[in-house]
Symmetry: C2
Subunit: 333 residues, 2 copies
């Protein structure tokens, strides 16, 4: 039913090869160009991507596996990724891994079955099992947000240590001397932020005591429980750094439900400025990541990898973070 290149051949009298050449950006005589364009218009022709894919072995599709499609963080990244891909004629097929390494691996298998040209992963864990099948099928992979140690993969992320240092510096500037950190110890990202924070504090002569280092999972629960624990101590910290969105959420919940208030009784500096900062009271002070840049860079990078088919040494883009100042940190200085 839909028009094919053959219909265009019939209307223009040109050969399939010439028309195909035109469609793929090759040079044809101006008069022929006019003819072809008219025919395309008349017939409402659209390239059959499956036929094209069969020959070229390219689907013009990128698979994106996100650690949690229900998270705002991923949603925002997906927006920017999608924009770049679409503008380049690529579609994105999305799978949710729900923070589960096994599911993540299945997603990659699924992508391969669907003949994607490239894969972007917002990893759910440090597991690199999923890389195997991608490597085997020679499909380029770009990691976004969280890198995986020793993966040898292309990656777009922030400098997590530096970001945590920013947070530490801000607390120091505001005169806080009893500081705590609630972090995720199950991820590279979280551990880096932890290291950056501790190092900067130590360098400033204010090492963080063990009991103020709250390790745990990447979850609202961990944030919630840890904050409760901190608040119940005899010597409460004056400030807490929560190293990701979920932890920040949980910590804020805990404070809101307690008899204490922020920032008068406890200061909080969070991570990832999403909608949260507009709705909770007081307005949060947060370390923010350049979401737009991250998403766009990841998309551009995977497109480049697809086109260049290269074996170049993996690239790593490390983007800068900044602090958005709200009212959740009290000035003690």
């Amino acid at each position: 039913m839909p028009a094919t290149i053959r219909d265009i051949k019939d209307q223009t009298g040109l050969s399939l090869a010439t028309i195909s050449k035109y469609l793929n950006g090759g040079n044809v005589l101006p008069e022929n160009k006019v003819k072809i364009e008219r025919a395309i218009n008349d017939l409402d022709y659209q390239v059959n991507e499956m036929a094209r894919g069969l020959v070229t072995n390219m689907s013009r599709t990128v698979g994106v596996s996100v650690h949690d499609i229900g998270s705002l963080f991923c949603g925002i990244l997906l927006r920017y990724i999608g924009d770049v891909l679409k503008n380049n004629g690529y579609s994105m097929i999305i799978c949710d891994s729900r923070d589960d390494a096994k599911r993540e691996e299945e997603n990659i298998e699924f992508f391969i079955k669907k003949n994607v040209d490239g894969i972007i992963v917002i990893p759910s864990s440090q597991s690199k099992d999923f890389l195997k099948s991608a490597k085997k099928n020679n499909i380029p992979v770009v990691l976004l947000d969280r890198s995986i140690t020793g993966s040898g993969c292309d990656c777009v992320r922030i400098d997590n240590r530096a970001a945590a240092s920013l947070a530490a510096a801000l607390l120091i500037d505001n005169g806080h001397k009893a500081n705590a950190i609630i972090y995720s110890s199950v991820e590279y990202t979280g551990i880096e932020r932890y290291k950056g924070f501790l190092e900067t504090m130590s360098d400033a002569g204010m090492p963080i005591p063990e009991e103020f280092q709250m390790a745990g999972t990447h979850s609202i629960e961990h944030g919630y429980r840890s904050m409760n624990e901190l608040l119940s101590k005899k010597n409460r910290p004056t400030a807490v750094f929560t190293t990701n969105y979920e932890l920040t959420l949980g910590a804020v919940m805990a404070v809101n439900e307690s008899k204490y208030s922020c920032p008068d009784d406890i200061s909080i500096i969070g991570f990832d400025n999403l909608i949260l900062s507009h709705v909770v009271q007081p307005k949060m002070t947060m370390v923010v990541q350049p979401m737009k840049e991250m998403g766009e860079k990841a998309a551009q990078l995977i497109l480049f990898k697809i086109k260049s088919k290269d074996k170049d040494s993996p690239m790593e883009y490390v983007l800068n973070t900044s602090i958005e100042v709200g009212n959740s940190v009290l000035n003690l200085a």
Copy 2:
């Protein structure tokens, strides 16, 4: 490089037709079945979906256009849609329309260019322009969450009037007599909720005065400004019904920043129970939609439409809502 059906033919000595039949669930002799399965394993064979698609004219792909991929609401729906599709061997390609009718139309065009078998739309507006190209190409469309009047389209949604009635009934039960509504007057959904709320209140002998009917866009801003306006009135309402997630967010922000507090000075009943209800103080009372059921139903429906290739009269699934009770509504009774 990857194995083809021809390699299986070589290893088993069977014909292409027989192997294809097996792959598509047809009957073959038990001994041949064993042979084929062994070959598939040995060769690590995977069907080339593009070749298959070229013949069958099916891509086993569904396009999903969401009104805002950055919204939690869409993220959650996408999770459930994705699960069902993937379990059925279908991939979903996602486009964001950012609440823009033009972009929505472009998304559909894009889907068609990509040869999707079916389309799910979480519409961004009442515009039905985008339906044209889908109809022309004979691709089934399922509307999710928001129906479009006169579209004649399959649809999965809640009964918005009934949902609003629930909210009204709860306020009435709690003895509220001065009630306001902040709603989106630019959407069918919002208008239905408005009607349901007003009707139930009228029936109870408590019609909502004009000045307590806050019409506007579907946005945090509208919720924020309207709540501020309501709070500044001499005769404040005792309760406010906010008819969607963004409006609820905005309204809560306004109250938090004001000298008033919820629920002591003003009660709020919101819509769409997302993470918000856990983090804001007090815990919100909300009308909740059955997200899982909605997503899954929409996916099942589009799969059915694709398979049955039918011209049946459009189906409409209307799901039930419920109320999740928190502490944001004061009992005056």
